[in-house]
């Protein structure tokens, strides 16, 4: 099994989620993150004092998939999240040693 982590633009989350679900991947975990990269942040000014906000709001999607599904899942994410503008984000894939479903104690692919 693998853990796919995708950093995407927040408004792309619905598309990513729906496309994954269509492919039978019904479980994901999402968190709000701030990204720093090529995409510029913005400037804020309070009573004439400027300051630079380098971080851009992003969404972090985590999905554990079986080995067979890794390629398909990451393709789906890339396609759904792409806007072709800087800041579309990254995906990274990590090896997973075990997965457990808390409710049942099932392990491995069963637990997904």
């Amino acid at each position: 099994m693998k853990l796919i982590v995708a950093i995407i633009k927040p408004f792309k989350l619905d598309d990513v989620k729906d496309d994954l679900a269509e492919a039978g991947l019904h479980g994901i975990t999402v968190s709000e993150v701030s990204g720093y990269g090529r995409q510029k942040g913005h400037t804020e000014v309070y009573r004439g004092a400027e300051y630079q906000v380098d971080f851009v709001p992003k969404v972090r999607v985590e999905i554990v998939v079986s080995d067979e599904m890794v390629a398909q899942a990451s393709d789906i994410i890339v396609n759904a999240a792409r806007t072709d503008k800087i800041g579309d984000g990254k995906i990274w894939i990590l090896p997973v040693e075990e997965v457990i479903r808390i409710r049942t104690g099932e392990r491995g692919d069963e637990a997904l």
Partner: protein, 415 residues
């Protein structure tokens, strides 16, 4: 009836001020519950304005302030039903403001009283049942109690019990009713073991600020004219509130090590509650002591619920019942003819006033507790008064009202 434009101006303003208190209360209470229940709490308060406004103009005003039914001082007749005959003065009053404005001013008291109850029962009432409860409660509890105490033909009024702006009618009444309903519906899951801290303390402070502001209408407006009495009531209100605020945080400093902003806000409310019945009867020394007493004693009293195992979630008992009792009884000591009313013990008036005050406290507390408990029980046993465990876990906002209070993050759906 000769209308005085200055008095009318002040009571128009006061009536608006008292209306604002209920949204203020919604913020005060709403900030104290957890984020998943804030809308459920605020909704009960806003709905209370809706329901009681209509019930009052159509029915309960007449029951409370209509000509006495049978001369027993128990309840008014339907003479003013639907604001009929509103050209007549309310019996016993010689108003210098339009009768319909007096009706409106009193309406605001009738609104906030059941709204206060919602603090005791936070996080667990079914919305429809709550609506039903306050509708009936307004008729069978609020209206008679207001008649007894506020109406010159009411039996407690005639006995000489003093309540300038609603210590018994509003605060003791709401306080014990809150305890009664809390007993009927039971504790929140997890209480008292699990922490249920306020989700938004600045919102609490905003609510407290609006309540303090509006309370000047409540108390100084109860003079029903713009005069020296109103001015004294105003000053007493502010003085007692200030003293109570300091008294509460002093207790915290000594007991818990640190003064809290929730404590400051709570102290202020306790002071406002305690001075409510007394503000037109005491001088500034009396107000200072009543405030200090309320701040200190209510700060101690709010912990009783843990001993009594009553989940009075936002301390309606500890603040409104106890605060109301303090104010009502201390009139018996600090009342002075120099401001208004009759002399209490410390001004040479003897204990007779204190006796009347105690009578009013006991009668209102017992009546309100018993009838509120019976009514709540009747609802609980029939249509149910409490949300399901699942709804309680999920929170009232999404489960009862299909809403989420806050969405600060990036909007997921839309670009």
């Amino acid at each position: 009836m000769h209308i005085n434009s200055g008095d009318t101006a002040w009571i128009l303003a006061s009536t608006a001020l008292v209306l604002l208190m209920t949204p203020g209360l919604a913020l005060f209470y709403g900030g104290m519950v957890r984020a998943k229940n804030v809308l459920g709490m605020m909704m009960q308060n806003f709905a209370a304005i809706g329901v009681v406004s209509l019930v009052w103009v159509w029915v309960t005003y007449s029951l409370a302030f209509g000509p006495d039914w049978g001369g027993h001082g128990i309840i008014g007749t339907l003479h003013f039903f639907g604001l009929n005959n509103i050209g007549d003065n309310p019996p016993g009053y010689s108003l210098t403001i339009p009768h319909v404005l007096f009706m409106a001013f009193q309406m605001m008291f009738a609104i906030i009283t059941p709204a206060l109850i919602t603090g005791a029962t936070a996080d667990r009432l079914k919305f429809g049942s709550f609506i039903l409860f306050i509708t009936i409660w307004s008729v069978i509890v609020y209206a008679p109690v207001a008649h007894w105490v506020f109406d010159p033909n009411g039996w407690l009024f005639k006995k000489g019990a003093e309540d300038f702006a609603g210590g018994t009618v509003v605060h003791i009444n709401a306080g014990v009713a809150g305890l009664a309903v809390a007993l009927v519906v039971g504790k929140r899951k997890g209480w008292p073991k699990k922490a249920m801290p306020p989700h938004n303390v600045p919102m609490i402070l905003l609510g407290a600020g609006l309540l303090w502001f509006g309370w000047f209408g409540f108390n100084a407006g109860s003079a029903l004219s713009a005069n020296l009495l109103a001015s004294n009531a105003f000053v007493n209100t502010n003085t007692a509130t200030a003293a109570a605020l300091l008294g509460w945080i002093l207790v915290e400093k000594l007991r818990d090590g640190k003064p809290t902003t929730l404590g400051a806000a709570s102290g202020a409310i306790a002071g406002l509650v305690a001075i409510t019945p007394a503000c037109g009867y005491v001088n500034v020394a009396g107000a200072t002591i009543i405030g200090l007493a309320a701040g200190i004693l209510c700060a101690l009293a709010v912990r009783l619920k843990f001993a009594l195992k009553i989940d009075d979630a936002l301390d309606v008992g500890g603040v409104h019942f106890i605060g109301g009792v303090i104010g009502a009884l201390l009139i018996g000591f600090f009342g002075t003819k120099a401001i208004g009313g009759v002399n209490g013990i410390f001004h040479g008036g003897g204990a007779s006033l204190l006796g009347k005050q105690a009578l009013a406290v006991v009668v209102v507390a017992v009546y309100s507790f018993v009838v509120s408990w019976l009514l709540a029980m009747a609802i609980h046993k029939t249509i149910g008064f409490r949300i399901t465990e699942e709804q309680e876990f999920e929170g009232m906002d999404t489960s009862l009202h299909a809403e989420t209070a806050y969405e600060f993050g990036p909007s997921f759906g839309a670009p």
